[in-house]
């Protein structure tokens, strides 16, 4: 970890120097507001590192244009997010705001950025509000629309032939959205639906109910530590081999696989990216990331990298003009003329991506570690459910 951080420091210095060396224009300022501390800090770290990797590849530039990336930690607190956004927009004059991980931060930060005439590019969180009625021409979501994650899991579960499922999520908005998303595409019956406490650690009661309901499979959306708690206890209850688990990528990212070890073995998940996707951009990204940071990237790193590449393609098209040529920059963003690590990439009318989704299963590698292996394509060109509510063309 130390090493990667040192690397970052020199990287930041390099990008600054790069900016100073080419004195022909001010670098484009990009404000990254992300979650680096708290238990979920690894999400933000990977988004940041993925993004900065793309900047480093060009020696402090994106699309041949000098950029200055300012990174701040929101601590997962909306108030801090606002504070940082104010600073980036008013004081530093950021033209692009990115980095937000969580759906409780984006509703605060995105409107500020849009009001200031800046572009908001989300590498992760994409709540339904901004995909539907409140969509905005300068708001772009690079990863997915929140619901799509779980919709793809619903499609995958149907494809795997399960006739019924027991579903669980924490009792909060993202949890409810996740179950709604899963149900939207799952064709089987829902034999049980349980909302758990936010930050819950003991799941014995829920697991007993699952056992009692005898479903063919379990879907859950318990992000971060909650999912780890659940999986450990689920396996110890002896249910993992009896009732298989199908989840979305957020519930089975590389961090979680590492934290639960062999318990993850055999768990299936749907994802829009995996390290073994066979395309050139992905291979280059993997090599570069491992070299720069000495660890394996999670899906969040891929999203951060894609975000940077997308911005690079638009900067290149406008010659570095953002706020000075909003129409041009917007059109270039929307064209999404870059090689995504997930292969195909295009935007829907509401500036949210139309993704292909793959099914993965956790397997054991020769060195004894566990990893997600892509096994099949689950859905091609899945658009989100809210685009029709959006007035953009």
């Amino acid at each position: 970890m130390k090493r990667s951080v040192k690397y970052l420091a020199s990287l930041a210095a390099a990008s600054l120097l790069g900016g100073a060396g080419l004195a022909n224009a001010e670098p484009v300022k990009i404000g990254m507001i992300t979650t680096l501390s708290t238990g979920a800090g690894y999400l933000g770290q990977d988004v940041r590192d993925g993004f900065l990797l793309a900047v480093k590849e060009e020696g402090g530039k994106l699309g041949g244009i000098d950029v200055e990336v300012m990174v701040e930690d929101d601590g997962r607190k909306p108030g801090n997010g606002k504070q940082i956004a104010d600073k980036f927009l008013d004081k530093e004059g950021a033209e692009i705001i990115t980095g937000v991980i969580f759906s409780n931060i984006s509703p605060v930060v995105a409107p500020l950025a849009l009001k200031a005439g800046a572009f908001y590019v989300s590498p992760n969180s994409a709540p339904s509000t901004f995909a539907g009625k409140q969509c905005h021409e300068n708001y772009f979501a690079v990863a997915w629309q929140n619901d799509s994650l779980h919709e793809s899991a619903g499609i995958y579960a149907t494809k795997l032939g399960y006739n019924n499922a027991y579903i669980l999520a924490p009792n909060y908005q993202a949890g409810k959205d996740s179950l709604a998303g899963f149900k939207r595409y799952f064709k089987g019956e829902i034999v049980g639906e349980t909302y758990t406490k936010l930050g819950q650690t003991d799941y014995a009661a829920e697991i007993a109910k699952v056992r009692d309901a005898k479903p063919e499979m379990v879907f859950h959306f318990l992000p971060g530590g909650m999912g780890i708690n659940f999986l450990k206890q689920y396996a110890q209850a002896g249910l993992k081999d009896e009732i298989p688990i199908v989840v979305s990528s957020a519930s089975m990212d590389a961090g979680i696989v590492k934290a639960v070890g062999e318990i993850a073995l055999g768990v299936k998940s749907s994802s829009h990216w995996n390290h073994d996707l066979d395309n050139e951009a992905n291979k280059a990204f993997l090599t570069g990331f491992r070299e720069a940071y000495d660890r394996n990237p999670t899906v969040y790193a891929g999203q951060g990298y894609d975000t940077a590449k997308l911005i690079a393609s638009a900067l290149k098209a406008t010659g570095g003009k953002v706020k000075d040529d909003p129409d041009g920059f917007r059109a270039a963003m929307k064209a999404a003329n870059f090689d995504s690590v997930r292969g195909n990439f295009k935007f829907n009318t509401n500036n949210h991506p139309i993704n292909d989704w793959v099914g993965r299963v956790v397997e054991k590698a020769d060195d004894g570690t566990y990893y997600n292996k892509t096994i099949e394509v689950v859905a091609e060109g899945l658009a989100d459910a809210y685009a029709s509510d959006c007035s953009l063309k």
């Binding site: 108030g79 709540p127 409140q134």
Partner: protein, 334 residues
């Protein structure tokens, strides 16, 4: 009030009034948001200080009232945007309606909670106030209509006040400042009044006050309600500042933060909570920057590793907080 304290009060007031001009002269206008946050938290911390510093009631759930006030504003604004009603009432964006409502409801909430909590004392009191705040936290999380954990965004922007544009950051700052100065004046006369003297006497020896025939619980409850109402107002203001409300307002660490502000600045002093709020929020904002400046980039997100020990040192060695370092005297109450 001795000259040292008067000097602090005057300096603060002048500085606070001049601040927007100083900031714009320095080209750092964006900091007005931070300054407003300090003013609002100072108001909340000062209300906590009434029960904590003067009344000796260690409430670990003061964020609850902050949250109630904020949610009143958030919910009222939500229904305006949504066009729906709540309990048959339409929503409102008018500050003159929403803010008094926030004060009244958080005061009522404090009345009910206080009546229950004041049956206990000592560590039990600390924990029962925490328990009620936790209940409220989970209640807000399960309010599906109001975004649950994600909270309510005030799409209409800040509340409206006839003749003033609260959407203007400088105007809003001055409005908050007026409330802070007003409550400071109120506090200053309150603690010198009979009410304040009884309250302070309760802190030192409640049994004696009871033996003297004084219904101490009533006094403590009254203080509890005042503190709750003002914290509710602060919550309402903060909702306006961020144009956003979420269960985060009631998180138990928020109660802890308010306590830290009181201690940091100087417990049982009039201006202590203001100093504490400023110190706390400035540290939070600038410690990471400081790490970056001295080249410790990897420490930036770990600024709490320094903040924790600062807190411990203040508690252990500087009991009167920053206030006592400035005044070099005893607090009003020790």
């Amino acid at each position: 009030m001795n000259s040292g304290r008067a000097l602090i009060a005057v300096t603060f007031t002048v500085l606070a009034i001049a601040l927007p001009y100083l900031l714009s002269a320095a080209g750092e206008e964006y900091l007005i948001g931070s300054a407003t946050r300090i003013v609002i938290y100072a108001l909340a911390a000062m209300s906590l200080n009434l029960i904590l510093g003067y009344g000796g009631m260690i409430s670990f759930g003061h964020a609850a009232y902050f949250g109630v006030g904020a949610y009143v504003v958030g919910i009222a604004s939500f229904h305006v945007f949504d066009g729906s009603t709540i309990f048959g009432f339409a929503g409102t964006d008018a500050a003159l309606l929403a803010w008094p409502l926030a004060i009244i409801l958080s005061g009522l909430f404090a009345l009910v909670l206080g009546a229950l909590c004041l049956r206990t004392s000592g560590a039990y009191f600390i924990m029962i106030t925490l328990a009620f705040a936790q209940m409220l936290f989970f209640l807000f999380v399960s309010l599906e209509q109001y975004g649950g954990d994600d909270g309510v965004i005030m799409y209409n922007g800040r509340n409206t006040l006839p003749g003033l544009d609260l959407g203007n950051d400088t105007t809003f700052y001055y409005v908050c400042l007026v409330f802070l100065i007003g409550f400071s004046l109120l506090m200053s006369s309150l603690i010198q009044s009979r009410f304040g003297r009884v309250l302070r006497a309760c802190k030192q020896n409640e049994d004696r006050m009871r033996a003297l025939g004084c219904n101490t619980t009533q006094y403590k409850l009254a203080a509890f309600v005042i503190a709750g109402s003002v914290a509710g107002l602060a919550g309402a203001l903060n909702a306006n500042l961020t144009e956003f409300v979420s269960p985060d307002y009631v998180h138990w660490t928020k109660s802890g933060d308010l306590m830290i502000m009181v201690i940091l600045g100087g417990i049982g002093t009039l201006t202590g909570p203001i100093i504490g709020s400023a110190a706390f929020l400035l540290l939070e904002e600038f410690l990471p920057v400081a790490f970056e400046t001295v080249g410790l980039v990897d420490w930036k997100e770990h600024w709490r590793i320094v903040f924790g020990p600062i807190l411990i040192v203040i508690v252990l060695f500087a009991r009167g907080g920053i206030h006592s370092l400035i005044v070099r005297g005893q607090s009003d109450d020790r």
